[in-house]
Symmetry: C2
Subunit: 335 residues, 2 copies
DNA sequence: ATGAAAGCGCTAACAG
DNA sequence: CTGTTAGCGCTTTCAT
């Protein structure tokens, strides 16, 4: 491995001159500059960022920690954030926590985090207590879950309100027995699904309808396969179901497949609503009606919040919620 | 920021003892150990990985560089790889190159790469010449594209053969005018799309059908929106089209939407084939017929190849190709 | 069982 | 315009 000292020796200058040339700092004679550059090219030298970062005390990089790489929502978020941080001269790297409490705790390992100038954490498995116990010194912004300790910056989406509006839209379209597919968190924590289910309940109650337990379709995983099977079973159990609110678009896609399996027309016989407005949403089933959680808004708010926290560690923590919006397409009937 | 020296002072020991306790190395008395551990907890100390990595000369981390975070295929790949490397005690971080030649070149910045023990690069925009010019010292394994310089390890999928089999399946199902949606790379480089298109051509020729230029539907981006519009236009231009081979499932989903817009029955009037076998493939349009490119195989081969390269930098480069397999579902007719 | 010294590769600060 | 000195926080090596 060739070091800066090797380059310096080969070019007949000091390491400082090499360093200065490479960073365009200090005053370096044009001739010397060229010689150093030539030597760098000849030797194939590249700075050791680990050493540079250690010395400078920063990395010019931020991390996004997501529950799973394998989810369209996070892919989209990561893409947006990469662009946003890029504009600020910061590199974005993505790490996976595994969507479990243990995974998140491990991913939040102080040591790991300290290698970055800032961290965006998309919480899923951790409880409020876990978050409270977190002793992180790296600038950190929490994403996604509804509740977060006041001392953290937090950017969330309007899960409950978006879900309420979505279900209200189903009601307006004429559905009376609306199942919620996704169910609540087993631990009763304020997770995305729990919040969205609360919105479902609120909408039903607001319309004078009963939020019966039988209408709650629990899922082990928020994936199409599980949803497809579960919806088929739910329909078989309760043929009166005439509306489906899926807690995510992925779940909605599975639900649509399950309804198709059962030979039920959408939206004629059963209306379907998703949540997330994934890019493919407009292309499935003629256009999946869903809730736009404000992904662009969230990415910008998160990037701003982290930049702010990085420049001022003592700034007052901010809790921001993106506005959600119902996107009516073809799996629901016009009101 | 609390350092190891701070902890040592507070615990009344030397930094070496702290280091030894933290890494479970060396012989440390139980009493001392407890005292150090207590001090670590009290001070909230966490090792500085940047310093540790500099000293140790490794990071216990590998990077996966993908063209875009925002693509289901790469999300899936990243998930699989994270698990595979996790088993080997290596941390996986994902970076985005931006799917352009410039982006990839920037992402391949020697300096960045050297911060990892190994790198997996999913090539898209770079030409063979670019790859050849690459002077990387970090253990590197190339992924995805068909051609790669012999000196690199390379794991690819059977793009041409998979596409050939897919189109042969369309022919067997009775299609005679089969459009390929995705088109070739403008630069004529051996990209995924070009390879898959070559497979389309081979299948047609093998069946005695003409691979007319009019059957090639070019796309600016391999996304549903673009595909939907392009397919609508193609069908309007040539109503005889009775089969569609989409170069990716994402494109296929858009193509299906376009065919639905045009009121054409799938698979009765037009058969549709995708490529990738994304998880949602089985849930769209009753089940999208597609090509399984062997994602699991690829992830394992890539992880093995990189581990091997990391342990032996001089090992003979290997070029591996995953077997592809047609998955016939409901958007094609049985032969 | 514990500690002192040296140095990983780089850059800030200052000297010339 | 260029070079010297010091040290970022840690681990390796060797001594005690």
């Amino acid at each position: 491995m060739v070091t800066m000292a090797d380059v310096a020796r080969a070019a007949g200058v000091s390491v400082m001159t090499v360093s200065n040339v490479l960073r365009d700092r200090g005053r370096v004679g044009e001739e010397t500059r060229q010689r150093v550059l030539r030597t760098v090219a000849e030797t194939g030298y590249a700075v050791n960022l680990t050493a540079r970062n250690l010395r400078r005390g920063r990395a010019d990089a931020v991390a996004l920690i997501v529950p799973s790489f394998d989810h369209a929502y996070f892919g989209d978020l990561a893409s947006r954030l990469a662009a946003l941080f890029g504009e600020r001269g910061l590199h974005l790297v993505v790490e996976q926590s595994g969507a479990s409490r243990e995974g998140e705790l491990a991913a939040l390992d102080q040591a790991r985090l300290r290698a970055y100038d800032g961290v965006l954490l998309s919480v899923v498995g951790m409880t409020a207590a876990d978050l409270n116990a977190l002793a992180v010194t790296t600038p950190l912004v929490l994403l996604g879950e509804q509740e977060a300790p006041a001392r953290f910056d937090h950017v969330s989406m309007a899960n409950a309100e978006g879900a309420r509006a979505a279900v209200a839209h189903l009601v307006a379209g004429g559905s009376r027995r609306i199942a919620v597919v996704g169910g609540e968190d087993p631990r009763g924590a304020a997770t995305m699904a729990t919040e969205r289910m609360a919105g479902w309940r609120a909408a039903l109650e607001g319309a004078g309808l009963a939020a019966e337990r039988g209408l709650v379709v629990r899922l082990e995983a928020f994936e199409p396969d599980a949803a497809r099977v579960a919806v088929r079973e739910a329909i078989a159990r309760d043929p009166e179901i005439d509306g489906v609110f899926a807690v995510t678009d992925q779940v909605a896609i599975g639900a649509l497949a399950g309804l198709a399996d059962a030979g039920l027309d959408v939206p004629g016989r059963v209306q379907v609503m998703g949540f997330d407005d994934l890019r493919i949403a407009r292309h499935v089933a003629g256009g999946l009606s869903t809730v736009d959680p404000g992904a662009a808004w969230i990415a910008e708010a998160a990037a701003d919040a982290l930049a702010r926290r990085m420049s001022d560690p003592d700034a007052e923590p901010r809790h921001l919620t993106a506005p959600a919006r119902v996107v009516a397409r073809r799996t629901t009937r016009p009101a």
